[in-house]
Amino acid sequence: MMTPMHTHPNDEPFAKRVLARISDEHLTPRPRWEFVFKNYVFWSLGALAVALGAFAFSAMLFEVENVDWRLALVTHASLFAFFLDAAPFLWVGALALFLLLGYANVRRTNHGYRYSLTTIAVGAVLTSLTLGAALYATGLGGLVEETVGAYAPFHRPILTEERSWWLAPEKGLLGGHVVSAALGATSFVLRDFNGASWNVDGSDLRTPDLAAVARGGLVRVIGVPTSATSTVFHACFVIAWEFRGDWGRTPPPLPLAVIASTSERSSAAARSEVCRGIRPYAQLRALDETGL
């Protein structure tokens, strides 16, 4: 906005007019610390944005690492539906936003304009990604995803999301903790995420499944409910549910001798007719052989 001018006659030398205006308006140079402080603020905000980007990336890694893409067609009707549920949109968006904020702040520092968009973007992305990977390795990714993610709109933390996929016994999907197992794992008791106990029939299980049961802790069971109302579930496949990048959640093994007593069960043997109807049986069998 232009301020009113010509307070002094135009025939006066220009420099004199400028100095007269400075005197008339009692102007003084703004203190140096204001500029230094402003510069520090922009650098700090830039660094903070990159650090927040690192947290977003660690949460993104946690989400990607803890989604089992091999079971996409078990839990979802299509890969696309699975992608929509499992892709870390929130963290990709957050990372992009923080990187943009980082760029905008660095650009406003004293010499920020000298750096090209590419230089700042590559620097910020590399820093965020390296820091984010380090944070993920320390287990902070899970913490961010589970705590911050819980408050974000339109987002459900991946573990909560996955638990909901495996709380569908009517669809043959059951997830929860192995509470106890009979010797030989002909059956075991599982507590689902709602706290309900299930008697799981393990007669169709093969060696890799039994290993998962023996290991205890969290498992995912693919099978067939015996009826719509009972809490008896016929298991066809059991998959250990391990968390990656989240310290302290790996369960201690169950004090069972399941494997030894069931070693006669081959992993290659076909399952009963009950299991052959589950979808996608052939794919699960293939995964079973290569190790789920």
């Binding site: 001018m5 400075i22 005197s23 203190p31 230089t119």
Partner: protein, 189 residues
Amino acid sequence: MPLDMTDEEIVRRTLADKEAFAPLIERYEAKLLRYLDRLGVLVREDREDILQNAFVKAYKNLNSFDPTLAFSSWMYRIVHNEAMSFFRAKRARPQVILSEEGEALLTELRDDESDASAAAELRLSQEELGRAFAKLEPRYRDALILRFFEERSYAEMSDILEVPVGTVSTLLYRAKRALREALPERTRS
């Protein structure tokens, strides 16, 4: 005050005594008024108002002056920004009238022509060049003015326009191409 004092020395003195600012104003007054003229501020009073504002702003922000860049670049930046605010406030497109100083730009355009006959064709009147200039986007015009009329280096232009040096190169390349396209048909190869 000794005439051989550097800009930076005068800035230091001005922080202690505002009267010391006068030689710096005198040193840049004519140059910056000419720059404003080239930017398209055609009324002398407007040019003086803008320049006065720019010097007052420079004085108030003297402590933010970074001695690692030339004072002239800093001053050009302030004047440039003030001129842009002026055009925005007036909602006016700058009216550029080029004087005979466009020769450096024409030489540059001629040098860019690989075809000798096309280069020879690039002899136009100042009026034609001015008309082509007026058709350019402001950022292209600004870049060409700083480079070929104010004879600023790429590094200085980077400090004045507050863009990376690489962007200055791109701007100039695109500006020259846009100018060539804006020239009358007969002058184009």
